[in-house]
């Protein structure tokens, strides 16, 4: 493939690609993101290729393995074009039928369609499925149309036209001005205006400057950057190159966490293909602008998502953050001006250039423009990645798109912002999602993780969980974080074990103040947030744990006991056989009784007791009823009485 050396050649080449693509030609797209991969999409892909071959359709039907479609709960997903028929939870055995019925005979297979739980009707088209209908998939939507390993797919949807526009039709001042006007704020957590950050670097002294993609995505439960990098790496490369052009940088880095091997692979392929086409490297598109990109892998440290720690890691050291009184866009990597932005931030840039800052600023709220990709996970019916305009309410996201809480359980809280964020309770569900709105409520936007929690989640345990996470991930350099959190974790663990003391909450608040004010980096400064926000909205749970040794959510192992209600037990023996501690006594027609001494609180009996009996209960804060006497344990069945 020969290099493209001008804007005109790029457009010619693009036309060439499009002319060879018939929009009416049947095309099967299969989601091959990491989650669907784990659900078996590789096997499905193999069968599709086999079947197409077998039925002689390989040249008349396109097959495209795309990036993540977002509806991870229902993967593997297939969308058949041009009709846009969406089939969910595909298994290899469904494939022959799909090929013969839908591809050949244009007949829809009902059982593979989405069923609207409310109206109980089947929905054929992807865009009409409620999960997708209420989203605004500007950045993420392209994932479903391109094979990340084929640059031509990206070019076919208009890729690299923004870069060409920037290099040949705009000055770098104009580009900076557009980005500033759009009010694009960092999508990684800080929410800092990208335009200001770029301007700072652009104006800083120095010949050598860097642009960096932060693809460390350490927040547990957040995987949108992964899906973007895996599914549409060129959008990130394009945005990065534009940013480099604006600030005058010729060297870029992509720092990807090591736990994302597919993302690393796809990004490397994308870089290679872009270089072959002259869209990256020396003299890009014949413009005279040079820019190269290197990929660096992380090695398993959450703190390396913090910008100074990330730069320290890029320098080949242990990722300890540095006290930062001069911004890193002036003194950053190797002491040089460096613009570090999140994957999603970079991916927004080509859109802003192509469509204009005004278009971008139409969406969203006054201070939070554009869209945001959230990972909606936890106790939610439709787990997946959703892209919504800023300003949509949490209620709409969780209920309209997310489908509400499964199992008929009650919503309790939604955790946003990862370990630096907080929990938002039911009374605030009408909050409009945005940077400042979430911060005001005691949480933060963070990278976009949205973990939904229901009545079975213990909020004290949530605080303890995050503190456990943060003590594991803290770099350990400064006292307020290392020692402060060490003590906070001890106290919270004791509380969840029923050993809480009267002045624990006060001490936790004091430690929170110290860590929040005196820590060296944002990890330490925001570490108290999960505790503070759960205390703010769920203080009653803390008091129950401390004063009554009771866990209202019936979750903390040390504070609950499992008990089989003798009135409900039907002696079906399921729990007895499954109990890993062999702690259940009983037999056929003999009511089962749990030996509290042997019970390990694993919860298996609670899981496996048939719902129609529901005999296993969890008790907290009160003594377990004494086991009924042996004589009373025989069940006399009505049928036998006759």
């Amino acid at each position: 493939m020969s290099r493209i050396n001008s804007l005109a050649e790029l457009e010619e080449f693009r036309k060439g690609i499009l002319s060879k693509r018939d929009p009416n030609k049947p095309c099967i797209t299969l989601c091959s993101g990491s989650a669907c991969h784990a659900s078996g999409s590789e096997e499905v892909a193999a069968i599709i290729e086999e079947e197409l071959e077998k039925q002689g359709l390989s040249s008349s039907v396109d097959f495209r393995k795309t990036g993540c479609h977002g509806f991870c709960e229902r993967g593997p997903i297939i969308v058949i074009h041009p009709e846009e028929i969406c089939y969910l939870q595909i298994e290899p055995k469904d494939v022959p039928e799909i090929i013969s019925q839908t591809i050949k005979e244009k007949k829809v297979i009902e059982r593979l369609l989405y069923t609207d739980p409310g109206a109980n009707e089947k929905i054929i088209h992807e865009s009409e499925i409620p999960f997708y209908k209420y989203q605004e998939r500007l950045v993420f939507g392209s994932n479903g149309n391109i094979d990340p390993k084929r640059i031509d797919d990206y070019l076919a949807i208009g890729g690299y036209s923004a870069l060409a526009k920037v290099l040949f039709r705009m000055t770098s001042e104009e580009v900076l001005s557009e980005v500033k006007k759009s009010n694009l704020r960092g999508r990684g957590g800080g929410g800092f205006p990208a335009g200001s950050k770029w301007e700072g670097s652009r104006n800083a002294l120095g010949e050598i400057k860097y642009v960096i993609v932060n693809a460390d995505e350490g927040d547990p439960g957040a995987y949108m950057d992964r899906a973007l990098l895996e599914g549409n790496p060129h959008s990130v490369l394009e945005g990065l190159t534009i940013g480099a052009y604006v600030i005058g940088s010729h060297e870029g880095y992509i720092y990807v966490r090591q736990e994302y091997p597919l993302a690393v692979e796809n990004v490397n392929i994308a870089i290679k293909q872009a270089q072959e086409y002259g869209l990256l490297g020396k003299n890009i598109l014949g413009s005279g602008f040079d820019f190269t990109v290197k990929v660096h892998q992380g090695a398993g440290a959450f703190v390396c998502g913090e910008s100074t720690a990330l730069m320290t890691a890029l320098e080949g050291r242990a990722g300890e953050p540095r006290p930062k009184y001069v911004r890193s866009n002036v003194v950053g990597l190797w002491g040089r001006p460096s613009v570090l932005n999140n994957v999603e931030t970079w991916a927004n840039v080509p859109l802003i250039i192509n469509n204009g800052a005004d278009w971008f600023a139409q969406l969203g709220t006054e201070n939070s423009k554009g869209t945001k990709i959230f990972s909606l996970v936890g106790k939610i019916t439709n787990t997946g990645l959703v892209e919504v305009p800023m300003g949509m309410t949490l209620r709409d996201i969780i209920y309209k798109i997310g489908g509400g809480i499964p199992g008929g359980k009650r919503f309790k809280a939604v955790q946003t912002g990862g370990p630096s964020g907080g929990c938002i309770p039911e009374e605030l569900l009408d909050l409009e999602v945005g940077f400042d709105e979430l911060t005001k409520a005691g949480s933060m936007m963070g990278s976009g993780g949205m973990i939904v929690m229901d009545e079975d989640t213990c909020m004290v345990d949530v605080a303890r969980y995050f503190l456990d996470f943060l003590t594991d991930e803290s770099c350990g350099k400064c006292v307020p974080c290392r020692e402060g959190m060490r003590q906070m974790l001890k106290i919270l663990t004791n509380i969840t074990h029923g050993k809480g003391k009267e002045d624990d909450i006060e001490l936790l608040e004091e430690l929170s103040e110290t860590a929040g004010d005196a820590s060296l980096c944002a990890l330490g400064r925001t570490a108290p947030n999960p505790f503070l926000s759960t205390l703010r909205y769920f203080r009653d749970e803390y008091e129950a744990h401390i004063k009554e040794k009771r866990c209202p959510a019936l979750s903390c192992k040390e504070l609950i006991a499992y008990h089989i209600d003798p009135k409900k037990c039907q002696a079906c023996m399921i729990c007895l056989k499954k109990c890993p501690a062999e702690a259940i006594a009983g037999g056929k027609n003999r009511i089962h009784v749990i030996d509290q001494e042997k019970c390990t609180k694993c919860g298996t009996c609670f899981e496996v007791c048939p719902p129609r009996f529901g005999a296993v209960q969890k008790i907290s804060g009160e003594p377990v009823p004494a086991p009924i006497p042996e004589e009373a344990r025989t069940i006399i069945r009505e049928s036998k009485q006759k």
Binding site: S34, A35, H37, A38, S39, C72, E73, G75, G218, D219, P220, G221, A222, Y223, R226, A227, Q258, E259, Y260, H296, Q297, G298, A299, G300, A301, F302, A313, L314, E315, G316, R317, A318, G319, S375, V377, G378, K379, T383, G384, Q415, G418, G449, I451, V452, M453, T457, Y465, F466, F469, E473, C475, K578, P580, T600, C602, G603, T604, E607, V608
Partner: protein, 178 residues
């Protein structure tokens, strides 16, 4: 008077020489590979972490000799390498088992009951996160998010993901690994 090599018979001397050569060859092979990896990264100290990641990936652990070799070739103090090798979770200074279990304890999986799954895995394998059992069969590690939240609780064994787990299902899953 110490028995010098002059006192040993020619046959014994030859045996010792062959054994010695084999040992040197074994160590040299590892060093050669390490040198290759370092050269691939242009021998730059800033690529230290990338170099160690490659060695870890091929060797499944970082022997002390490997760290010393890297220190020598990249002109980086051993303390810095030691810090990196212990700071980052990706590295292991002890050999790993045949089957590496990575259990997700990310927030979404936690909320869906990953703690109870972890307890069960610990009970069944006899090891805690960060440990390897004595037969070098299983190594257990907790990870903070595999990105498969829709399938939570999730466990990855040798790269294969097992989703929608519960304590009652673990024995079944682990049975497949010899």
């Amino acid at each position: 008077m110490k028995a010098g090599s002059a006192m040993l018979s020619p046959e014994v001397k030859e045996q010792k020489w062959i054994r010695g050569k084999k040992q040197i060859r074994k160590a040299t092979m590892v060093n050669e590979r390490i040198d290759q990896i370092i050269d691939k990264h242009q021998g730059e100290a800033s690529s230290l972490i990338q170099v160690l990641l490659e060695i870890q990936s091929e060797n499944h652990w970082l022997p002390k000799e490997a760290l010393e070799r890297v220190s020598e070739k990249l002109h980086v103090p051993l303390t810095r390498i030691q810090h990196i090798a212990t700071f980052y979770k990706a590295f292991s200074l002890v050999p790993k088992g045949r089957h590496e279990i990575h259990l997700c304890v990310g927030t979404a999986c936690h909320v869906r009951g990953a703690t109870r799954v972890l307890d069960t895995v610990q009970d069944l394998t006899g090891i805690k996160p960060g440990e390897t059992d004595l037969d070098l069969k299983f190594s257990l590690q907790t990870v903070n998010c595999l990105g498969c939240c829709a399938l939570g609780p999730v466990m990855d064994v040798n790269g294969k993901t097992h989703g929608k787990l519960a304590p009652s299902k673990i024995a079944e899953v682990l049975k497949n690994y010899e």
